[in-house]
Symmetry: C2
Subunit: 471 residues, 2 copies
């Protein structure tokens, strides 16, 4: 089947349809085959596309007809304004990190690694195998495929020190992405109107999920070394919060990794306040100068609710993550997941497990580490050279981002717009602050397409900054 | 690679590991290859399985070792009792319809069609194609793949009468299953503590999602012909509700299909109360004596929020559904979906679209209709013959279920247990009532495995009933 030929036929027929009265019969498929010297399959494909676009109606055995034109009067949804009174819209939808970059732009804004950093061959093979397997046609249990639950439990168990009971497969809940886990955890372990402590700055998706679940977000300052345990303790005392959301490894956006001492101190504070640490290990597979060391490995009393995603590391189309929790908390979260989405596609779970249990996965991770290091270092060099006004608190030991502070008088919105006009996308730091930002920051992702353009991207940022100073 | 050989090696090594002290080194892969006359790949696979099961640690270049035994002290999660105070657990998790049937049982309880009713070849081919396509490695837009949005919009547009403006692709939100849609719609269009009218009996998953979102469920009686519009109007007036959840086509569990007149009357009531009709068209592809006729096709003022799923008809592993809504309501729901799960796997969306746009899909639907008819009629005949005490209000014109009323004095829980002891699974009607049931009902699914056993299943039910009468 030839897609280009189908498109050509579609284009020609669209013109014909535009000038034909509704109900007109299209030329027969046989006539179109002859006219375009195309195969019957190609013509059928063209007709299906036209039908999908709503331009024609096909009546099997009779023919294909131009669809009747519909009335195009304006629609009035004004009545909804009153009906929707019951709930304010908490959540704002659009984050810079989710924008799709037009071709040719230098995309330093994204939250996802470029395709060349994904294990493409492993993913395609795993999906092809899953398509042939039982998983393609069967329903997964609510908590997930047992083999995948085991894998996630063992990943954490393998770094659990002696004396701490490692998690078991039955502590694991497989999720359609970790965003779903954040929503469920905030809903069930915190609840509407109750306080939730979060690092500040922190992941914008967590701020979004918190807003949606109606919890009251309390920022705890977190710098290049992570949060201050005394500040954290004070926040617990002042607010009566029972939960703290954090990213102890390669935090998004700061890149901070907690030291072993800090992890132990935070865990002590959390235990003392009989609270939950919601640990988002989003960058587990993106270590560069160190490995990610989950705080959850040091807890067996159900204080840490641990989230790990495979979506960013394996493929954005394999929406698979896991949550590990123990005790009644896990039951609450599972009940919420069942009500929310019943179960996760077993096909995606089987493919994810296939990818991460292939010998090639370890090779991929080694290679990824080298690539991330080269990209990170190139972007740092480019920024130092071309944006001397920017300050990096921290060379991140892993993750995907640099977090750069700009001079205090910077007009951040203007800067972002000016860079975009020059074809360079950067994300304004504002989106990572749950309250007012403490200064003008930008987040620069070094895992996007075309790292060769990093120097040029940095030059553009530097010029836009210099322009503001002159103005 | 030979899976059976791997399993045999795993089994033997498990025995060896059980009696070996922690830290013992396993025989080398080379030794195992020789001992089992197996290929290196087979032995490597066995070792991976043991590692996944947490029984061994593999140190590359050194060897594989029996994992250290962990302390097995009991874990105490008592502190969580106080921490979890903030939110009662609304939702009960376990529905009979979600149970997996052991081999050899006669499964009349399930909510999902048996694999032999799925378009297996289309599904496997579509997944294999998607695995080779761009969709395997790219991120879908939040609202869904544009082509799939178009397809869903056109499905509804194709049955929209002249004079009503059909929906467009941009009114569609693609969902990871319709359960997610129910949760989002109840959360955003109704809201905690606010009233939601539902048919009674109605789909247990909707009752679950409503409980989870904290809305106040108000039952409106619905019989073999659907709800009474006067009752519905009264319920709107008495409660001030602004939303009604219903299944106008082949309702689960009753099988009721609303007449065109009833659909118009309900829509009038909904319009008069400036409210939403949340239409769950779950059985769109399961018509037998009629076609499903969406009420949404008669509304262009944003009153109907329409849900349609492909999961049950295409494959349980292809978790893809869509919601069609217009006006500010659609924006509210989309913001909730973004916060809840960001986006739906593009791979599953591409595969779903592929399946439903193949010429084979129409053939499949025709064949499915015949099979469902034969199965429905066989189950009805079997019930009439062997369970004369049961009363069917309605021969459903589509869907997957019979809804049978048993004699008033029936002990339903006892009946379900007695049938299960004889290898026949039936679902107690209780789960479909948002409040007290109006009588002892059972739901019998005629789309499960092995329809040849329907007479035997019916005989078992009849005997269990007769036994209660004697007791």
């Amino acid at each position: 089947m030839d897609n280009d030929s189908s498109s050509r036929i579609v284009e020609e027929l669209r013109g014909w349809i535009a000038s034909a009265p509704p109900g007109s019969r299209l030329p027969s498929n046989r006539a179109l085959v002859a006219r375009h010297s195309a195969s019957p399959v190609t013509v059928q494909r063209a007709m299906r596309i036209l039908a999908t676009q709503g331009l024609v109606d096909s009546r099997p055995g009779v023919g294909t007809f131009v669809r009747a034109v519909r009335t195009a009067r304006p629609l009035d949804y004004g009545w909804q304004t009153a009906a929707l009174r019951t709930q304010p819209s908490h959540a704002t939808l659009h984050s810079s990190a989710m924008r799709t970059a037009p071709n040719g732009t230098i995309a330093l804004h994204s939250g996802y690694p470029d395709r060349e950093l994904l294990p493409e061959r492993l993913v395609r093979n795993a999906l092809a195998r899953a398509a042939r397997s039982d998983a393609a046609l069967s329903r997964s249990p609510i908590s997930g495929l047992p083999e995948l639950q085991s894998w996630f439990a063992n990943e954490l168990g393998n770094v659990t020190p002696v004396g701490v009971t490692p998690p078991t497969a039955s502590d694991v809940i497989v999720l359609p992405g970790s965003q779903s886990g954040l929503s469920s955890v905030f809903r069930t372990l915190v609840g509407t109107g109750q306080p939730l402590l979060v690092e500040s700055p922190t992941y914008w998706g967590a701020i979004l999920a918190a807003a949606q679940s109606g919890v009251s977000v309390i920022p705890v300052p977190s710098g290049p070394a992570g949060p201050d345990p005394d500040e954290l303790a004070r926040a617990f005392e002042e607010t009566g919060a029972r939960a703290f959301y954090a990213q102890p490894n390669y935090a998004n956006p700061t890149g901070a990794q907690w030291s072993a001492t800090l992890a132990e101190e935070v865990l002590d504070v959390v235990r003392h306040h009989r609270a939950f640490l919601i640990e988002d290990d989003w960058a587990h597979d993106f270590g560069i100068d160190s490995d990610a060391t989950p705080v959850a490995a040091h807890d067996d009393a159900g204080h840490v609710v641990y989230l790990r995603s495979l979506t960013k590391g394996v493929s954005p189309s394999i929406r698979v993550a896991a949550l590990i929790a123990r005790g009644p908390a896990r039951e609450r979260i599972l009940a919420d997941r069942a009500a929310e989405s019943m179960y996760v596609s077993g096909l995606l779970q089987a493919a994810a497990l296939d990818v991460v249990t292939q010998p090639g996965w370890q090779n991929h991770l080694r290679n990824l580490r080298q690539q991330l290091r080269a990209r990170r270092d190139l972007l740092i060099t480019s920024i130092s050279e071309h944006v001397p006004q920017a300050h990096l608190d921290n060379v991140p030991k892993g993750g995907l981002n640099l977090w750069a502070r700009l001079p205090d008088q910077t007009n951040l919105q203007q800067l972002v717009r000016d860079c975009e006009a020059e074809g360079v996308l950067v994300a304004p730091g504002t989106e990572w602050f749950p309250a007012e930002p403490t200064g003008p920051f930008i987040r620069l992702n070094y895992s996007g397409a075309n790292p060769g353009a990093f120097p040029q991207g940095a030059r553009t940022i530097g010029q836009a900054l210099a322009q503001q100073k002159r103005a």
